[in-house]
Amino acid sequence: MSIAAPAVGGLARLRRDPSALAGAALLAAVAAACTLGPLLLGLDPETTAPAARHTPPGAAHWFGTDALGRDLLARVLVGGRTSLAVGLAATAVSVAIGTLYGAIAGYYAGRVDELMMRIVDFLYGVPYMFLVILVMLLFSDTARGEPLPVFVALGLVQWLTMARIVRGQVLALREREFVLAARVAGASDARILLRHLLPNALGPIVVYGTLTVPGVILLESFLSFLGLGVSLSWGQLVADGVAVVNPVRSPWWLLAFPSGFLAATLLALNFVGDALRDAFDPRAVG
């Protein structure tokens, strides 16, 4: 699909935004390190070395080791894979559901919209953690710790806001003259939705999607912290780090490196998301 015309100017503006550039560069670096790092460095996150437990950062282990002597650098990078994958996949789920749901509600408007949006309101009212935990428990014990239930659970929670945003966009667009023109030309509902309404709502979808990723990563970390997440992720590592950090003689690196990576990634995603929002803002001059 071609990019929306206003987006062309938006992308040009994006290239001139230093915080967006820095954020994008950092994200690219983190993603590259997580995907390629363990391979290139020949590291394995599960190799234990009882003799080398709680080794501080140094030449042998750049990020130190944990209580079982596992290399923390390897664990942070591999854990980052999981966190990023969960973030992207759950966001994809929420964007898909939210866009479809919101577009249908906004396009048919009236009573359909009323009913569909009341359902959204109701789901909003349910504490989201409760929902997530419920979904996680529905999966069998064997599946727990696998990424799939986490994707589904997080995606199911996050689509609500996306549905509201898309519904609002479509509701505003459907009375625009170019949509009426398509109707006059005899276009079907599907054609109007897919060819005219959604491409024009793409800007907000991309922006909100980008801002959903850090939210999902954080939520996954929280789930891991509660023991409901994926076995090796940043959230899990932070949880482990918190458990062993004590004020007397502390393996601080176990907390510092995973949380540092987590924080930097969230920050970078937010920079990019904010810059995208500015770039797609219809009020911006271009």
Partner: protein, 336 residues
């Protein structure tokens, strides 16, 4: 410098006004050396098509140019005193008191959450008047613009018709007893019948208060109904300026005469085809070289593209920025 009208009693003098707009393609010269004179009690029409810079020029007179546009030069003198010097502080001080502005969109110019009367009283009290005096003056002015009585005073803006809102705005603009009123397309959004009555009101108010009015419009016919003189603007500059009768009797700039010819008339024989101007108005980025209208001009010559057209005086208060006017007028008097 030769002026069209070497009238030293001119109340508002604008010289070489420049407004640039920062765009991705570069600095757009939206107002590119605009010069105008308006005498006391005179109505000058500033006529041009969208994008010619007329609205930005109006906003510049009140130091209201919105970013990314900005006023980059020019003299704006009221009663001989330059208000544009000093980063526009004097312009802002004069705003609403000595120079007032009425916009096209009356609905957007009134605060939707305040009753019409409240807004007028508030505006009247800005000068430091007591609330009672302010209320009395607000009521008197509403009465004057034909909106007397409690109904309008206590109404919300959305309860008024378009014509009533425009009248209320006129009243609000006049509260500060301005010497100059800048009216930017004040009747364009109105139906013709309402437009006629708002124009009639504007004419009455102008006469009874001796207001100098800069009336900005895209419609030459509306300008003809109200203005003593008309300045036709194209690509940021005035290309012809003349008393209304003289302009309609014989416009000398090809753009001005084409603009006069191309609207479908309401009487006379029905034309098989309307005279039209090919192409679209330009957007000028660099310094102007040659005549901005040359690419659309049926009579363009080689020198029109090469050199800046001269400002040719064609008689009392009549001048055009065109080489074709040269033979007829006193050559070479340039302005701006």
């Amino acid at each position: 410098m030769t002026r069209v009208r070497s009238d030293d009693a001119a109340l508002l003098e604008v010289d070489d006004l420049r407004v640039h707009v920062a765009t991705p393609e570069g600095e757009l010269r939206a107002v590119d050396g605009l010069s105008l004179r308006i005498g006391r009690g005179e109505v000058l029409g500033l006529v041009g098509e969208s994008g010619c810079g007329k609205s930005l020029a109006a906003l510049a007179l009140l130091d209201l140019v919105p970013p990314p546009a900005r006023r980059v030069g020019g003299r704006i003198a009221l009663g001989g005193v330059d208000l544009a010097a000093g980063a526009g502080r004097a312009l802002r001080a004069a705003r609403g008191r000595r120079i007032a502005l009425v916009f096209q969109d009356a609905a957007a110019s009134l605060t939707p959450t305040l009753r019409v009367g409240e807004q007028l009283v508030e505006a009247a009290a800005i000068g430091g008047a007591s609330v009672r005096d302010a209320a009395a003056r607000a009521r008197a002015l509403l009465e004057r613009v034909g909106l007397g009585g409690e109904r309008v005073f206590g109404a919300w803006p959305h309860q008024l018709s378009g014509g009533q809102r425009q009248r209320a705005l006129l009243a609000m603009a006049l509260l500060g007893e301005p010497a100059v009123l800048v009216a930017d397309e004040p009747t364009t959004a109105l139906d013709v019948t309402t437009q006629a009555s708002v124009l009639a009101l504007l004419r009455e108010l102008q006469r009874e208060r001796g207001l100098a009015v800069l009336f900005i419009t895209h419609d030459l016919a509306v300008a003809a109904a109200l203005c003593q003189r008309i300045a036709v603007m194209y690509a940021g500059r005035v290309v012809e300026e003349a008393p209304t009768e003289a302009l309609f009797a014989g416009a000398r700039h090809p753009y001005a005469s084409a603009l006069l010819a191309c609207s479908a008339p309401l009487d006379g024989p029905r034309l098989a085809r309307l005279p039209s101007i090919p192409g679209a108005p330009p957007r000028r980025f660099g310094p102007a070289v040659g005549c901005a209208f040359a690419p659309r001009c049926p009579d363009a010559q080689r020198r029109c593209v090469a050199e800046d057209p001269p400002w040719v005086a064609l008689g009392a208060s009549h001048a055009a920025r065109c080489v074709l006017a040269l033979g007829a007028g006193d050559a070479g008097g340039r302005r701006g």
